[in-house]
């Protein structure tokens, strides 16, 4: 039986997408060309989209690295001209850092902060709409009413914002994150007794 689309989307959003910047960085370090990296990452999502069920995936991060590596190797093998450095490339791809290091675990917890940085980085109008839609959970119609604009305007801005966020997600995750020792300040806060 198939798993629901919503569950697969939630899994990819929570367990795959947050690691995309790391996978891209690793592919860059292994010597892949930027255009190839885009293709490899896209192909990885394609394979996920073709799955009926993701229950067998224990670690999204490890799955992402493994699949990207396999696709990268297939790409090298498919290339018509066999280049002399292929062997080195495959070797480089074998060094897969898919075990979360302590820093990585901290990074995972900073995910929520990252969401806010992503939204804060949007142009003003987009940011407003994303905050109402995603953070406050308003529907598109409610957002339009609240801002006194048509639903079309909200939709256009949502598309624009999502394009920008998808691009931002491909960039190194370290850049938009504060040093580890400050990470707790926003991730959690004391609620005072009332």
């Amino acid at each position: 039986m198939k798993q629901s689309r919503a569950e697969i989307v939630a899994f990819v959003g929570g367990q795959i997408l947050p690691h995309e910047a790391d996978v891209r960085a690793w592919l860059r370090r292994s010597g892949s060309y930027p255009a190839d990296i885009d293709d490899i990452v896209q192909e990885t999502y394609c394979r996920l989209a073709a799955l009926d069920s993701i229950v067998h995936i224990a670690s999204g991060r490890a799955y992402f690295f493994r699949t990207a590596r396999n696709i990268a190797i297939e790409k090298i093998r498919r290339a018509r001209i066999v280049r002399i450095d292929c062997v080195t490339e495959i070797d480089a791809l074998n060094v897969v850092d898919d075990e979360p290091s302590p820093e990585r675990i901290v990074a995972g917890r900073r995910e929520l902060q990252r969401v806010q940085h992503l939204i804060e980085g949007l142009p003003e109008r987009c940011r407003q709409i994303f905050t109402l839609r995603r953070i406050h959970g308003l529907s598109q119609r409610e957002v339009a009413t609240r801002l006194g604009v048509t639903e079309n305007v909200v939709e256009t801005q949502s598309m624009r914002g999502l394009r920008l966020i998808l691009r931002a997600l491909t960039e190194a995750s370290d850049k938009d994150q504060p040093p580890a020792d400050k990470s707790h300040d926003l991730a959690s806060v004391r609620k005072r007794d009332r």
Binding site: G13, Y45, V55, Q113, I119
Partner: protein
């Protein structure tokens, strides 16, 4: 020509589609225009999944937003907390046809382990830490014996075969629905996330109690009223299915108890006043260190740790 599209161009179009589907609440599977676009290039399905996943990722920010409100107003609203995570918890049915068997299947988890297991009838069970249950699939019934611990069930619809969970003398019966059952000593805690279930206590007279989505019943000594909870509150209690502990104003003492369910490294809070402090945050079940560090940073406590214990004490300087 679609073959000339770069991955980035596809990503942009996918973003537009995902935003449209989300904004207009379209049924992606039935939307002809979307399906035509997807059919135009096999790469588009991946890009579309990625764009939808990004929206789901952003929705996780709601937990953080409620924390921000707490900073601003000091009078935070409970509403909306973690509804994004709630969405992320939306579960489905798991795959894999397995032959019907009448022999019980034992499923158990070790300390800190959380498993999702598809059952032979298409139901899905998420099993929390240190839990043991037996699954017996019969032609006319589906029986789960919860020996200890906690599990959440997404039950595949089958009117011919009632799905009954036994926890001690407590029985919970469902046809097609989702609910969790937790045993803790004599107490049994039932929470319903979808549909309706019936509960009763074996050997006790009286009507069976019906619980709808958003209801919770805590049977301690086997009698209790049904309590209505907000769906987001129930989703928060079930954050463990994603390996998370979601705190929304629980005391540090309660929070430590929650982490201690998952880890051999136990959190100990020395000071009774400190244990009563309230806290908000989203953590991984297997990262009590993060929780302790967050408490230290925001409440001004001192953390001292060894292999077995993470000790939180009042910061004497504050």
């Amino acid at each position: 020509m679609t073959s000339l599209q770069s991955a980035k161009e596809i990503d942009d179009e996918a973003a537009d589609w995902a935003a449209r589907v989300d904004g207009r609440e379209l049924d992606a599977d039935r939307d002809v225009a979307l399906q035509n676009w997807l059919a135009g290039d096999p790469r588009r399905a991946g890009a579309f999944l990625r764009a939808q996943a990004a929206i789901s990722f952003l929705d996780r920010g709601r937990a953080l937003a409620s924390v921000d409100q707490a900073i601003e107003s000091q009078r935070p609203s409970r509403r909306g907390l973690l509804t994004g995570v709630g969405g992320a918890l939306a579960a489905g049915l798991a795959g894999g046809a397995v032959l019907l068997t009448t022999r019980p299947q034992r499923l158990d988890t070790r300390l800190g382990e959380i498993r999702r297991v598809p059952l032979a009838d298409g139901s899905l069970v998420a099993i929390n830490t240190t839990t043991a249950l037996d699954v017996t699939m019969k032609p006319k019934s589906r029986q789960i014996l919860l020996r200890r611990g906690e599990a959440w069930f997404q039950v595949a619809k089958d009117a011919e075969r009632p799905f009954v969970v036994s926890a001690g003398l407590v029985r919970v019966r469902a046809v097609g629905t989702a609910f969790s059952v937790r045993r803790d000593g004599d107490g049994v805690d039932v929470m319903v996330t979808e549909g309706v279930v019936e509960t009763w206590v074996e050997g006790q007279a009286g009507p069976r109690q019906r619980l709808a989505a958003g209801n919770r019943i805590q049977l301690v000594g086997y009698t209790a009223p049904v309590v209505a909870e907000s769906p987001s509150e129930i989703e928060r209690s079930l954050a463990w299915r994603n390996g998370e502990i979601a705190l929304d104003g629980e005391s540090l003492g309660d929070a430590a108890g929650q982490f201690n369910r998952y880890n051999s490294r136990q959190i100990v809070i020395d000071d009774a006043d400190l244990a009563r402090e309230r806290f908000v945050g989203l953590f991984r079940t297997n990262e009590p260190e993060s929780f302790a560090a967050a408490v230290a940073a925001t409440i001004g406590a001192t953390v001292s740790e060894d292999d077995k214990i993470i000790r939180l004490s009042r910061d004497r300087l504050s």
